[in-house]
């Protein structure tokens, strides 16, 4: 059975499945690094997405050239959790979004997919725009 994690944003908890078949090395490092707690802020360039701010190093060897990123992806679906290696951060897509910066879309590694209903979680995420940084936790699901 796939490893599962819990993702908590200001009291709202959803369950996600690690995408081990897609990004096995990064997921293995991530699993070993949990629990992870931080304050997240809303994306400024990426749409309906928020991201962590305390670097977490999940660098793996043998990623796809030229960026040396495992399973590089430039598109996200609602509920997708990605890892952006250069900034050592997680980002969570809660609606229409695409991981971007000033230069445009960037390659990220997909690490998990939220499997619960996103409605309440997305409401909380959207409020980051109005309320500022909030507490965020990723932990292993027992």
């Amino acid at each position: 059975m796939a490893r599962q994690i819990e993702i908590e944003l200001e009291g709202v908890v959803v369950t996600a499945r690690l995408l081990e078949e897609r990004s096995p090395k990064t997921c293995e490092l991530m699993w070993g690094a949990l629990p992870y707690e931080d304050r997240v802020t809303h994306a400024k360039w990426s749409g309906q997405m928020f991201h962590t701010n305390t670097p977490i190093d999940l660098a793996v060897a043998g990623g796809m050239p030229p960026f040396d990123i495992e399973s590089p992806s430039a598109y996200q679906s609602p509920g997708e959790v990605v890892y952006y290696r250069p900034a050592k951060e997680f980002a969570v897509a809660y609606g229409e979004s695409r991981f971007c910066w000033e230069t445009g879309p960037l390659f990220v590694t997909p690490v998990a997919m939220i499997e619960d209903d996103l409605t309440e979680f997305a409401k909380k995420a959207e409020q980051l725009v109005w309320k500022g940084a909030k507490r965020f936790v990723i932990r292993r699901k027992a």
Partner: protein, 133 residues
């Protein structure tokens, strides 16, 4: 020249409307003053604040550009409100970059404005008021 007085959480800024380049939108803004509302950071376009106020929609876009610069004041037809650029930014959305009217400029040293604008992402919405200068 039509000038603006902008109050942003204890900071007072001056600006001007670009009435020669965007006469109809500038007039609509001018007629709506004074305005007061919340500002949040935009979610697709980078270092840009959105002031949540409502201005009567002018009939057509004017002084449209795909490039935005710090100090620019923008109006986005269809979305309304005003945008204030405080760093690298480009008006974008799910459909990509889209050109928007530049209708004003902030004047003077923007250092304190930029510092305060950067806090919005972390601290949440702040208040802004606009009046005729």
């Amino acid at each position: 020249m039509k000038t603006l007085r902008i109050s942003f959480e204890g900071l007072t800024l001056t600006g001007r409307v670009l009435e020669d380049k965007a006469p109809k939108i500038c007039q609509a803004l001018w007629d709506s003053l004074p305005l007061e509302g919340s500002v949040t950071n935009v979610t697709w376009s980078g270092n840009m604040l959105r002031l949540w106020v409502n201005i009567p929609e002018p009939p057509e876009p004017e002084n449209v550009s795909e490039l935005q610069h710090p100090g620019d004041i923008l109006f986005v037809p269809g979305w309304n409100g005003l945008r204030f650029v405080y760093g690298p930014a480009q008006m974008r959305g799910p459909a990509g970059a889209h050109p928007v009217p530049r209708i004003g400029r902030l004047d003077g040293d923007l250092t304190d404005f930029v510092k305060l604008a950067k806090q919005v992402e972390w601290e949440g919405a702040k208040k802004m008021a606009l009046a005729r200068g």
